[in-house]
């Protein structure tokens, strides 16, 4: 679950400029993504039916986009998109239709469907295919005029689309070869000055526009490190030339501003190998529209499933799956969701007959049905038992607990077990350990006592099942001594407004703002101003007492609200008023802590990000994968695999008053939770639709504590009372080779820390060879020694080992094998130790299945 930093590298690459145009990007709120997905799901059945039919089937009708449009000025251009429709499906037939116009004096249209103006007036565009015909209406204005070229509206998009202002080129932090542009053109004033004034204006030459360095470099007429970006024949070349020739206007008089972009279509089911062109339309404040497909950057989040060309053409790959295609134009993002369903979909009755224990099942089935995949079988009591123990309390059932549960014939025993586990004291430590990865800093930097108390605050929150909104409010607006109110340690660790901002937005909203500290977010709509307005909520955090003094930061520090304080925008120097990222927050009253106002906004019922990032974390932890991955990176360009489910889980969490235990109960009581991990033909390639359980390696603490429980030999940890469990450790400074090997975050790393569940060779070797583990298995005080000494039969001791390690009884063949093994060894204890050791080295122990 908690793997927040997983995609940070990708973001860093963008920031440092080594990765070109990552994802285009983001929608206003997750809801819009969800809406799109719901529609997809709704269309699913129809589409699937079509998949099986031969390509080239005749369509019932044609549709054209846009149906009405206006061309303004001599250089105007609009591409047409024609779709063939039938009851089952929609597909792109633009390349198959014949375009013509009954008004050839007004406009011309080429074979590819590009419409250009000829004379003012009303015109018509016609597309025909196999006797079907569709029309679009065109109005042409100022056909003879060269409209003014604006740096803001016309030139910046070209610089971005051609990669000039991209991260690897002139858009990186110090520019390229002395020429620097803002990343993807977020700062037009700076870029305008860079082009027209810096280097004594040598980049443009209005007297002989073609001689401008800008054009000679872009066309590689003179050597250009970035190669040829533009051809003389292209419209964009003409636009640049005209801009220089007309004296390089910064903005045209009375020009409008870009408000948003839209992509057409917004969703599509594709068959393997099928193509689909995307069109991108810019929407301006004055209501005008413009086809900006040519200046848009496209990116697919699953290139292997659906690839996209630089011109916006999608090509479906051979494998069934889903992909989201992002279109980015001047900081604005639009998204097209695509899916390639499995061929030969099962009948709807199959899905209708699947059990629905709660809303989760319903929504998961709907999604699977849309893709033609089917769920695996449900697990038996043994696997459910082990899975739910590990998920809720992070330990294995004891042999007695396992035996009791397996023998229990009550049909309601699973929900009963969930209820029992949620009341166990281990629950708090298990879940606090997850949150300590995200929050708990290094005691050598922040101080032993401050960290010790922070750790306790986290644990106490889970001990009392503190509602999640209260947890966040107490943390975000923490005040007082770091020795008494552990939550205040957050502000000892993250001392400046910008440091807190990135943590709070990522953890509690799933919004990563790190990039916007320095520039417009390359794959999101957030700008620098958003960052510093958000940071302004933390501008009045005061510190008194002893500050940090590593490596012994032992002093007590008090966090309080100062009377004044502000955050300024680093580029404009403007004092930023506190403002939330979206929506409205309450006014900050005279006696209010601005952070409390922010916390109210974060936790408000209108804020879907707040609940969705949390339910996604919990879901990922239990189900092996988040609905969104990385779990704390919610953005339109990273859509959830099941939007309606994410939305429904969020709403349920809110309805349950942010009760985390209740959320766990809801998920673990679903039918989907208890699916087997064994794949079927119809879900083997599924890795994100929960058609089967995704196995996870036990995390370091869980595995460690399981081994202590199985061997009955506890570990002696430094800085802990005797017999402490790994889940109780208050700092990662407590040394443990085992925990480090199995992926505990580095103690020097600042939170939020990455926790991977990958398996490594060292882990396998550790389980086989580690002296500490060997000592536990062979301890005189251990389970093997105890069983060997007991008068219990071979069959009984074998059963106990199976129950302790796998939470199940041995199958007949397994038992026979084990009995044979024990019989062949004179030293009963050694044989039992060997058996235990071997079982600890099996995947059945190492994985949660």
């Amino acid at each position: 679950m908690f793997t927040p930093r997983r995609s940070c590298c990708a973001l860093l690459l963008v920031c440092s400029g080594t990765l070109i145009g990552l994802l285009p990007h983001a929608l206003p709120a997750p809801n819009s993504t969800l809406a799109a997905e719901q529609t997809i799901a709704a269309q699913a059945t129809a589409a699937q039916a079509a998949v099986s039919q031969a390509a080239g089937k005749k369509f019932d009708g044609l549709t054209i986009f846009p149906t009405e449009f206006t061309l303004r000025g001599k250089a105007a251009l609009q591409r047409m998109l024609v779709s063939g429709t039938s009851a089952e499906r929609i597909s792109d037939v633009t390349n198959a239709v014949t375009f013509s116009t009954p008004t050839p004096n007004i406009l011309r249209i080429d074979a590819g469907g590009a419409v250009r103006p000829l004379a003012d007036g009303a015109g018509i565009v016609v597309a025909t295919l196999a006797g079907r015909r569709v029309e679009a209406k065109v109005v042409v204005q100022n056909a003879a005029a060269d409209l003014p070229v604006s740096f803001q509206l016309d030139i910046q998009p070209i610089l971005a689309a051609r990669g000039c202002s991209g991260g690897p080129c002139h858009g990186k932090a110090r520019g390229q070869n002395g020429f620097q542009l803002s990343l993807l053109g977020f700062d037009s004033d700076f870029d305008f000055s860079a082009l027209t004034q810096q280097s004594r204006g040598r980049r443009v030459f209005p007297a002989a526009p073609k001689r401008s360095l800008l054009l000679r470099k872009a066309t590689a007429t003179v050597p250009h490190g970035g190669g040829k970006r533009l051809d003389f024949s292209e419209d964009d070349y003409a636009t640049l030339l005209r801009w220089v020739a007309t004296g390089m206007p910064r903005q045209a008089e009375g020009e409008s501003t870009l408000e948003s972009v839209s992509v057409t279509p917004t969703q599509r089911f594709l068959r393997p190998g099928e193509e689909q062109q995307l069109l991108v339309t810019a929407h301006y404040a004055d209501g005008s529209l413009r086809d900006v497909t040519g200046q848009t950057t496209f990116q697919s989040n699953e290139n292997a499933v659906v690839a996209v060309s630089t011109s916006g053409k999608l090509t479906a790959g051979p494998i069934p799956g889903e992909a989201a295609i992002m279109a980015r134009y001047m900081g604005q993002i639009a998204i097209c969701r695509t899916a390639i369903p499995l061929a030969d979909p099962p009948p709807p009755e199959l899905y209708a007959a699947l059990p629905r224990y709660n809303f989760i099942d319903e929504l998961v089935w709907a999604k699977q049905q849309s893709l033609g995949i089917t769920p695996s079988a449900p697990v038996g009591a043994e696997k459910f038992l082990r899975r739910v123990y590990i998920d809720i309390i992070g330990r294995l059932p004891t042999p007695k607990e396992a035996r009791d549960f397996l023998a229990n014939t009550d049909p309601g025993k699973r929900p009963q077990l969930v209820d029992t586990l949620l009341e166990r004291p281990e629950y708090a430590d298990h879940w606090a350990t997850k949150w300590s990865d995200l929050l708990r800093p290094n005691p050598y930097r922040v101080g032993i006592k401050a960290v010790f108390n922070y750790d306790n605050w986290i644990r106490q929150s889970f001990r009392q099942n503190k509602p999640y909104d209260q947890f966040v409010r107490e943390l975000v607006a923490a005040q007082g001594s770091t020795w008494r109110n552990g939550a205040a340690t957050l502000f000892r660790d993250r001392r400046s407004p910008d440091e807190v901002t990135t943590l709070v937005s990522q953890l509690f909203l799933g919004i990563r703002l790190e990039c916007t500290k320095c520039h417009h977010h390359p794959s999101e709509r957030w700008e620098q101003a958003d960052f510093y307005s958000f940071a302004a909520y933390f501008s009045r955090v005061g510190h008194k007492g002893a500050g940090l003094s590593p490596p012994i930061s032992g002093g007590e520090e008090m966090i309080y609200v100062t009377k004044s304080g502000s955050v300024t925008h680093p580029r404009t120097g403007q004092v930023m008023p506190p403002e939330p990222l979206f929506g409205k927050a309450a006014e900050i009253g005279e006696n209010d802590d601005p952070r409390a106002v922010l916390a109210d906004w974060i936790t408000s019922p209108q804020n879907d990000y707040f609940v969705q990032v949390m339910v996604n974390r919990v879901w990922a932890d239990l189900m092996g994968r988040g609905l969104v991955e990385p779990v704390d990176d919610l953005r339109a360009t990273n859509p959830p695999s099941n939007g309606p489910l994410l939305k429904a889980l969020g709403e349920e969490f809110r309805r349950q008053k942010y009760d985390i235990k209740q959320l766990l109960r809801t998920i673990t009581n679903s039918y989907v939770y208890a699916l087997s991990s064994l794949p079927s033909d119809r879900n083997i390639s599924d890795t994100r639709n929960f058609s089967r359980h995704y196995r996870q390696r036990l995390n370091a603490e869980v595995m460690h504590d399981a081994i202590c429980d199985i061997t009955e030999v506890p570990t002696t940890f430094a800085a802990m009372p005797p017999n402490a469990r790994a889940a109780e450790l208050w700092t990662r400074r407590v040394g443990s080779l085992f925990l480090d090997t199995f992926g505990r975050p580095d103690p020097n790393q600042d939170p939020p820390c990455e926790r991977t569940d990958e398996t490594t060779v060292t882990q396998a070797l550790h389980l086989m060879n580690a002296p500490a583990l060997h000592a536990k298995v062979t301890s005189d005080a251990g389970r093997a020694a105890r069983l060997a000494k007991s008068d219990r039969t071979e069959s009984e001791v074998i059963e106990e080992l199976y129950l302790a390690i796998y939470a199940r009884l041995p199958k007949a063949a397994e038992k026979a094998n084990a009995e044979k093994f024990l019989a062949a060894n004179k030293n009963r204890r050694q044989a039992l130790e060997d058996l235990m050791w071997a079982m600890l080295n099996t995947p059945e122990f190492v994985f949660k299945d």
């Binding site: 005691p443 101080g447 109110n485 008194k544 309080y560 017999n723 700092t731």
Partner: protein, 577 residues
């Protein structure tokens, strides 16, 4: 702190000398028997156990250097009978059945002088001694809780030590577990208290409640056995995360399902009139009231209710006392007349208490809020409003300490309002404060740098006395020593209003040569300063109380200055310290 009234301090001193009488007779024997003493005065660091229950006899082991054993003992008030055992550093303390709960200060005395005063705590709760091994939950020491609770006397004797105790609770019973270690006992430990389930899972944890010392109040959800455990980090932080411990890590852990006092309102006792106190704590009847007689001259006294395991130390005051009314708020300030000592609590988050009073134009006033120093988790923030309601002064800390002293000269005449709140806008049962509002009057205080002094017979010792002149105190101060034995004299010294001597003087104490009649002396005395009114000021009258101050020294662990230094007169020929 002291049980005797200081109003007739000469008499008081005589009585104190009586206390030391046994000591003296023993001392004489000792002196003659040892002949030439070579070692220094007793040096007493820690003791274990550090207290006892009412009516109990406890064997205490003192850690330190004791060259002459057995020594004698001095204790600041009656209730204890102390007898040295044979082994060096070991003595028995018999606590009288009617001994008052509280802190008793003891000195170990021998021919070379006296140790610094060390605390011995008397509680109603019965004493229990820690038994190792008790680190693991399975080895937890069983502790039966009597009605008045128990005090476990424990020690984290080495690094990594954890002390676990098992108690049985009934559903709904409230257990108070409170550590006393760094306060009063000066143990260098920053202890952590955990309350665990029978199987060792932590259910509650506390690191600090009163200073470094933790406390957990836990209501049992069901009948059961619970584990209370103690471990510690060092108060002087180092670079290791490990738990710390050594012989000095002595603590007293009160475990009780009976009463435990936290504070009382008002948070002070009047010297002049009887005081009605309302006691607050846990397992104590709501609104339990106590009637305390006029306290007289002492700095502080201990109060307890019959059902409480512990006693509270309350300061004594000359100021009239008021308690913040329930309806007290910024909108509804409580009217008071200066001077006054107000007490109250910030009970809910964001609460502000307000007091309204009249000031004359130019009047100099001083407001002192004390909470943190008394162990309450309140960081007082003061705000003064003028008659128009405008904020004219705001203050958080004074001298980088959380408690605040706000001095103010009124610019306009009329009703001013002083508001007090927690800096963090927290609120709660324990956020109690004591707020003095008074005119800034000239005053002075005398401080001694040491707790004891030695003079050789026939020689002179100089005792440095620091003088703190407050609010422009400009009179001369005559400083004298009182309660000296026969043959020892001090020459009064005068601190003038100006110059270096206004801030510090040296008082000379001279012992005559030994004669057959004069035995060496070892006992307490006092240094007293008395304002000498300047000519022309005499007609203001000579307020006895206001113009005499007894010199004190700071005793770590004690809340108030200690006003009884020790004087040892050494036999001639004894080596100097």
């Amino acid at each position: 702190m002291f049980w005797r009234s200081l109003s007739s301090w000469h008499a008081s001193l005589l009585q104190r000398s009586d206390l030391a009488a046994i000591a003296l007779s023993l001392l004489a024997t000792l002196l003659f028997s040892t002949g030439s003493a070579t070692a220094a005065a007793p040096s007493w660091e820690y003791s274990f156990p550090a207290g006892g229950g009412v009516g109990e006899t406890v064997e205490v082991t003192a850690t330190g250097k004791f060259a002459h054993w057995p020594p004698t003992f001095w204790v600041d008030h009656p209730g204890l009978t102390i007898e040295a055992a044979e082994k060096s550093g070991v003595f028995k303390v018999a606590v009288a059945a009617d001994a008052a709960p509280g802190v008793y200060w003891l000195r170990i005395v021998d021919a070379e002088g006296a140790s610094r005063p060390r605390p011995f705590i008397v509680a109603r709760a019965a004493n229990v001694l820690e038994k190792e091994p008790n680190n693991a939950v399975k080895d937890a020491q069983e502790v039966g809780l009597a009605d008045t609770g128990v005090v476990v006397n424990g020690r984290l004797n080495k690094g990594g030590d954890v002390d676990a105790y098992a108690v049985s609770l009934k559903a709904g019973q409230t257990l108070v577990a409170a550590v006393l270690a760094n306060r009063t006992l000066e143990s260098p430990m920053d202890s952590v208290l955990q309350l665990c389930s029978d199987s060792g899972f932590v259910l509650a944890q506390n690191d600090e409640t009163r200073g470094y010392d933790p406390q957990i109040v836990f209501t049992a959800p069901a009948d059961g056995r619970f584990i209370v455990r103690v471990f510690a980090f060092p108060t002087a932080t180092n670079s290791t995360i490990a738990f710390s411990g050594n012989a000095k890590y002595v603590y007293r852990l009160t475990l009780t399902t009976g009463g435990f006092l936290d504070h009382a309102l008002p948070l002070a006792v009047s010297r002049q009139t009887p005081t009605k106190l309302t006691a607050f704590g846990w397992n104590i009847a709501a609104g339990a009231e106590l009637q305390i007689a006029a306290a007289g001259e002492q700095d502080s006294l201990f109060v307890a209710v019959p059902e409480s395991a512990n006693a509270l130390e309350l300061p004594c005051t000359d100021l009239p006392l008021v308690v913040a009314a329930e309806e007290n708020s910024p909108e509804n300030p409580q009217d008071v007349t200066l001077p006054v000592l107000a007490s109250g609590r910030i009970e809910t988050s964001g609460d502000v208490d307000a007091f309204r009073f009249t000031l004359a134009k130019g009047q100099k006033v001083s407001f002192e809020a004390v909470a943190w120093r008394f162990g309450f988790p309140l960081d007082p923030y003061l705000r003064l409003l003028d008659p128009q309601g405008a904020s004219v002064a705001e203050l958080d800390d004074t001298n980088r300490k959380r408690d605040a002293v706000l001095n103010f000269t009124a610019k306009t005449a009329g009703a001013h309002t002083l508001q007090i709140r927690d800096l963090y806008r927290h609120g709660g049962f324990r956020l109690a404060y004591r707020l003095s509002l008074r005119e800034a009057q000239p005053d002075f205080a005398l401080t001694l740098a040491a707790d004891s002094f030695v003079v050789q017979q026939g020689a002179t010792v100089e005792i440095p006395v620091k003088i703190e002149r407050k609010n422009g105190f400009a009179d001369e101060i005559e400083i004298v020593a009182v309660g000296l034995p026969e043959g020892v004299e001090a020459t009064p010294v005068v601190s003038p209003a100006k110059g270096d001597a206004a801030k510090a003087v040296k008082l000379k104490i001279t012992s005559k040569k030994i004669t057959a009649k004069t035995a060496p002396y070892s006992g307490v005395f006092q240094i007293v300063g008395r304002a000498v009114k300047k000519k022309g000021n005499e007609k203001d009258g000579d307020d006895h109380r206001e113009s005499k101050r007894v010199a004190g020294f700071t005793l770590t662990g004690a809340k108030f200055p200690f006003r009884y230094p020790w004087l040892t007169v050494m036999a001639a020929g004894s080596p100097k310290k």
